[in-house]
Symmetry: C2
Subunit: 313 residues, 2 copies
DNA sequence: GACGCTTACGTTCGTCGTAACTATT
DNA sequence: AATAGTTACGACGAACGTAAGCGTC
């Protein structure tokens, strides 16, 4: 068995079982992949890919199991490379962060600036995606860290560490009546029914605990008029600016400097807070600068305690 | 990075850092290994082996970490091979059991007979060793199962399953006075002080909870006269037959048919029972016939429940 | 001088890519 | 005719083993 045979196999599986595409993706010839996969199947004594005539159309039962193991092999190969790099040069390497829109746009920029000043030689890559994609990127070794509110803590393949809590807040256009009534420090808190008097613009239901928002209205017997569900906060802001309604977004997505045309109302008494997590692949070798990044992001997460979670859990 | 480079590295580490020995062990040339290890170190950018002049004398810090990861790589490669074999032919393959003297000599023979009748094509290998060796064999992928009373349950790298409990028993020569006094079903139980009236022959202190035996005497304020400490039950039997004293052995090591020249006294009220465990490498692919073997050995351990422990724990 | 690793070099084997071929859609 | 995979084959490169070299105990 050769490593490149396993790599070819994974590449084919990751390219819709299209050998030609896989060949393009890894800059080699299609017959080469075909042959090496045959050799691997011959050596193991079982077919890995289900075939329809000559075409590969899926995995066999043993193929599915073999694939999982092969991924683990490459995870460890990656770790070995990381260990080499780590000892060869503490401050050089790469860091790929998979994260959501909100983090990438509002939370991470300042952290990343600090990080790159400290580690100018680290090759930093941000991959934006939806929670599930993010988590899979880390599990498949295509990203080092997952940062998101949803999906991270629930996956056993990752070690997840709570970073910070955020609350929902109500976004209104400038001079909105809510601002006078509720925006002052000592003002009384806004009630759910009052929010529902206006059309509501908020996150898509596929997102960050959005179901909870609906449940809160439901339980209160109030039916909000949700006119727009968006995939990111910027879209929500745009429509709130246009006075199409009030917005419900994460407080972290509100930037007092940039969002001068918008006002903020505290609604933390109405909805439960959310936790944003950082996820690391279980058992992976973590470079020092990655520990540092995590600590910059969430100062309570020290190398020592993360190390402990990595090995024991 | 090539698999055989990693293999060479492990082989050198497992052969006292002697490249020539490693070369002999895997039937290749010494310069070949030297070169490939250099190439690997060059690729990773760090030295793996500590050198004294030209000689390899140990591992560097990165080397230690890399070695652990490399072993994991081969564990998964082994698993892939097992998966292949499993689907290619359910009843063919190999099963290597690492176990102690007592198990190998007294407990396993009948099980193995049954097993081989059921799976005549399985290549069965028994490796005898001391608890620590046994466990390491499994961890290093050189054995599939560890069967022992000590050492198995304590290692986190293994899934350990309790198989059966055994008790200590007192072994005496034929016509010994104890036999009349204590061997009958309704006889009163022997007391610790009575045992201590005779020279005692028992297991070496390095062994299976032997410390417990000493503690029991100690706590009772009785000082036994231990004249021989042996590494296996057969040696103990030999000296008991010669009437040099009474023996304290595992009840599983007493065979009524073969040991006609010896008598047995129950002492289970004096010493705490011991549990014999079977250990499997965490996360390994387990062949069906291995599940069957375990069930033959400990009928309460069904495939389904073992599978559950393998994946969740 | 025996041991142990490295360097040098020719042989061999395996991998790769091109090209031709076959089978599906 | 286009797409997808296999077979065939020559070229190149990598790994191996032998032999010679170098340093150390």
């Amino acid at each position: 068995m050769k490593l490149h045979q396993l790599r070819y196999m994974l590449e084919v599986a990751d390219n819709n079982f299209n050998v030609s595409e896989a060949a393009d993706a890894i800059y080699t010839s299609q017959p080469g992949i075909s042959k090496q996969i045959r050799l691997l199947e011959d050596e193991l004594g079982v077919p890995i890919f289900a075939r329809d005539g000559k075409r590969l159309v899926g995995l066999t039962a043993p193929g599915r199991k073999i694939l999982l193991r092969a991924r683990q092999v490459f995870r460890e190969i990656d770790n070995i490379n990381r260990i080499g790099q780590h000892y060869a040069d503490e401050d050089t390497g790469s860091l790929t962060i998979a994260t959501t829109h909100t983090q990438a746009r509002y939370v991470l920029p300042s952290i990343i600036q600090r990080f790159l000043r400290r580690y100018p030689k680290v090759n930093l890559v941000i991959k934006q995606g939806y929670p599930e994609e993010i988590v899979n990127l880390v599990i498949d070794g295509k990203a080092d860290l997952a940062i998101a509110t949803e999906g991270v803590a629930s996956r056993n393949e990752l070690i997840s560490l709570p970073c910070y809590q955020w609350h929902r807040c109500l976004l209104v256009a400038k001079k909105h009546v809510f601002l006078k009534k509720f925006a002052n420090k000592n003002a009384k808190k806004i009630a759910l029914a009052e929010i529902a008097e206006y059309p509501l613009i908020t996150y898509d239901n596929a997102f960050a605990g959005q179901q909870h928002v609906l449940d809160v209205f439901e339980n209160a017997g109030i039916k909000p008029n949700i006119i727009i569900t968006a995939l990111d906060s910027d879209v929500i802001k745009t429509y709130v600016e246009l006075k199409l309604g009030v917005g419900l977004i994460a407080n972290t997505a509100y930037d007092p400097k940039k969002d001068k045309s918008l006002g903020l109302i505290d609604v933390s008494h109405l909805f439960r807070p959310n936790t944003t997590w950082v996820g690391v692949s279980r058992g992976s070798f973590v470079r020092n600068y990655v520990f540092d990044f995590i600590e910059m992001f969430a100062p309570h997460l020290k190398k020592k305690s993360i190390m402990a979670s990595l090995s024991t859990e």
